[in-house]
């Protein structure tokens, strides 16, 4: 099976990636199109477009709007192919729309028959983050763990593949990654004790080409000895967010989720001195050979996690100038509060520093890459750990960051929340949440604000400026060559700020909370900025009174709002 081979290869230390063609590895820099969720497969969310800039952004006006027809959390980033914008809605998705990118006129809509009971096996809102595109096909992943190819011209279903059985707690919420003739996807389920995997399918047929599990499945599997007993059997490590791809290294990068259950006593010694019981490969960044799925390297950000610090956040591929050398880097603002710069060829740690207030660890050991834990902040079986920062939403969650090669800064939508957490015992049952914990997440961090847009210098590993937001769940960011950063907040304000200084230059209220990052595109010499809005529902529900404030901040909704400059 691919999983055993894969794990074996890594544990034998076979870093056999072809490094020969090493010079000038490719961190894609967007040219002005927006063909993938993160603008490009490097997930930069940077656009080279600059018609809209710091001098004229104040004139931005709504060009058109589209009602998405569903009210659950809207987390989609549209993509542009030709003059068609493809956007998904929440709840299944309920719809995939193909719309004329100039007018918003709907060209087709796809309304999949998704079983209603997926609601019971989707942990954190009935979301969908968008589609991928390749060779005339729109690729859609669904909450019932199916992957579908649609004819991009008509919306007709070309093939449909079951990635897994959703009833065990598996859902797909993020768009797949298209690489050569493959379409690659992970899935969610770290809250249900699933066995995480990343799978590649043939774009033409939907047939499985390779599948790589993120955790062991049997006692003799390599890595099984990093788990207490046979606890890996329900060990999570779900790769539920988006992948990145470096075509020169031919490596696909994914993050893996928390180990299951959250309460750690089941999985190891229940203390900071966990020895080898690190629970591989949960809470990690994984680099996979795109052709075979073999794990070429891994970097575990939170060994033996007890805080639900998933390692899934997107990996931005960027070439950084480090000590006068252009270095192929991978940038990740981890849930655990540390910003990691890795060498994306081999997974070597270049640097790590906290980008939000962190107290569960004192730092990252530069030799081992391991967090230097504060033992008081590790929750244990029936022992509360109090005021742990960040809380389990993390220093950053899925709301995407962007990287501008123009300023050299990463724009991170961050959380400033802390928590109390305790481990409990729980018996695993398929399809039932497997958390083994109690918690209080409603604890604002120092300063009292609950979100902050942090402009971060990844070379110096320091904050350059920040914009504090009152409430948590601020939206993802878009950086443009017009010297701008766009982002939204949960009150529904969509804002443009100066990428160098953070000065606010423009804002517009779209009427419902914004979580996803905006995208931008150009058609017939005119630049447009598009953002999906629709306030989150489920994650704020973990927050009691703070959740009440989030709910009061804006109504539920579902809108795609597109802006442009009048007369441009």
């Amino acid at each position: 099976m691919p999983s055993e081979k894969t794990l074996g290869a890594v544990f034998a230390g076979a870093f056999a990636v072809a490094l020969a063609a090493g010079a000038g590895s490719a961190a894609a820099q967007s040219s002005g199109g927006w063909g993938a969720y993160g603008a490009d497969l490097a997930n930069t969310r940077f656009s080279a477009l600059h018609q809209i800039d710091t001098t004229n952004v104040k004139n931005l006006k709504v060009a058109w709007m589209l009602s998405l027809g569903s009210l659950e959390a809207q987390e989609s980033t549209p993509i542009l192919v030709g003059d068609t914008l493809y956007v998904t809605t929440s709840s299944g998705p309920r719809y995939v729309f193909a719309v004329d990118a100039k007018t918003g006129a709907v060209r087709w809509r796809y309304a999949p028959e998704v079983p209603a009971d997926v609601a019971a096996t989707t942990c954190c809102g009935l979301d969908n983050r968008g589609v991928a595109y390749a060779n005339g096909k729109v690729l859609v992943a669904r909450l019932d763990a199916h992957l579908v190819a649609l004819d991009a011209k008509t919306g007709k279903e070309l093939w449909k593949t079951a990635v897994s059985d959703y009833k065990s707690g598996i859902a797909i919420t993020s768009p797949p990654t298209v690489v050569k003739n493959l379409v690659i996807t992970g899935y969610a389920g770290g809250e249900y004790g699933v066995r995480g995997a990343i799978s590649a399918y043939n774009q033409e047929t939907g047939q499985l080409v390779w599948q790589t599990y993120t955790i062991p499945g049997a006692p003799n599997d390599p890595g099984a000895d990093t788990w207490k007993g046979d606890s890996y059997k329900h060990g999570g490590g779900a790769a539920w967010y988006v992948g990145s791809y470096d075509p020169q290294l031919n490596l696909v990068y994914y993050g893996s989720s928390n180990p299951s259950p959250w309460g750690a006593s089941e999985r190891g010694p229940d203390k900071s001195e966990y020895g080898r019981e690190t629970n591989l490969y949960t809470a990690s960044t994984l680099a996979l050979d795109a052709d075979t799925g073999r794990i070429v390297w891994h970097f575990q950000t939170t060994p033996y996690d007890a805080w639900d610090y998933d390692g899934v956040n997107e990996n931005i591929l960027a070439d950084l100038d480090l000590h006068g050398q252009k270095t192929p880097a991978l940038l990740k603002a981890d849930r655990n509060g540390f910003f990691y710069v890795l060498n994306r060829r081999n997974g070597t740690l270049i640097s790590a520093a906290p980008f939000v207030y962190v107290n569960w660890a004192k730092g990252i050991d530069p030799e081992t890459g391991r967090p230097i834990e504060n033992p008081e902040k590790r929750p244990r079986l029936d022992v509360w750990a109090k005021d742990i920062c960040p809380n389990l939403f993390g220093g950053k969650n899925w709301e995407p960051m962007s990287y501008s090669p123009q300023t050299g800064l990463v724009y991170i939508p961050s959380f400033n929340l802390c928590m109390d957490l305790i481990g409990r015992k729980q018996v695993y049952k398929a399809g039932i949440m497997y958390l083994a914990s109690e918690w209080n997440l409603a604890k604002p961090g120092p300063g009292g604000h609950m979100s902050e847009l942090v402009a971060w210098d990844p070379v110096q590993q320091k904050k350059v400026w920040g914009i504090k937001e009152e409430l948590p769940f601020m939206g993802g960011t878009l950086a443009t060559a017009g010297g701008l950063v766009f982002y939204g907040n949960i009150q529904g304000w969509f804002k443009a700020v100066d990428a160098k200084t953070g000065d606010e230059l423009w804002k517009f209220n779209v009427g419902t909370g914004i979580s996803q990052g905006a995208m931008t595109y150009e058609l017939d010499g005119k630049q447009y900025v598009a953002v999906v809005a629709g306030r989150l529902k489920t994650p704020p529900s973990f927050l009691a009174d703070i959740g009440e404030r989030v709910f009061a901040a804006s109504p539920e909704g579902g809108m795609l709002v597109v802006f442009t400059l009048p007369g441009a």
Binding site: D117, K429, I432, M433, S437
Partner: protein
């Protein structure tokens, strides 16, 4: 009794006006749970135990301490919403689930005693009309 329960399981009996399934007092009829569990006198220890059990099993969707900001998931409104049927709605829902709303069927996952202990906690946090 049998016939009524069968009807309930199929969800076909609707009480006039309420739009809800017409419940019988299932728990009372079956003699489940310790005596007095639905009385107005809460046992603080039982409520505390129920709170912890609720927070372990239910809070990911319904918020810790049942304080959900989302009205449909706010279990402090059970009494307001279901009045004298609250207890029966609770029992029917936890033992059948509402999968399309995200609610699993807890039969075979949590035992009856655990479910009724959670109910005692929920009774203690009901919003006053």
């Amino acid at each position: 009794m049998r016939r009524t329960l069968l009807s309930l399981a199929l969800g076909v009996v609707v009480c006039s006006g309420s739009g809800l399934p017409c419940f019988v007092s299932h728990a009372a009829a079956q003699g489940e749970g310790p005596a007095g569990l639905a009385t107005a006198t809460p046992d603080p220890e039982r409520v505390a135990e129920g709170r912890s059990l609720f927070n372990q099993n239910c809070s990911h969707c319904h918020s810790p301490n049942a304080a959900s900001p989302d009205p449909p998931r706010d279990l402090r409104r059970l009494r307001l919403r279901y009045g004298e049927h609250m207890r029966d709605v609770f029992w029917y829902t936890v033992t059948h689930g509402r999968a399309e709303k995200g609610m699993p069927n807890w039969s075979g996952v949590l035992d009856d005693k655990t479910l009724w202990t959670i109910y005692s906690f929920l009774e203690s946090v009901q919003t006053k009309p």
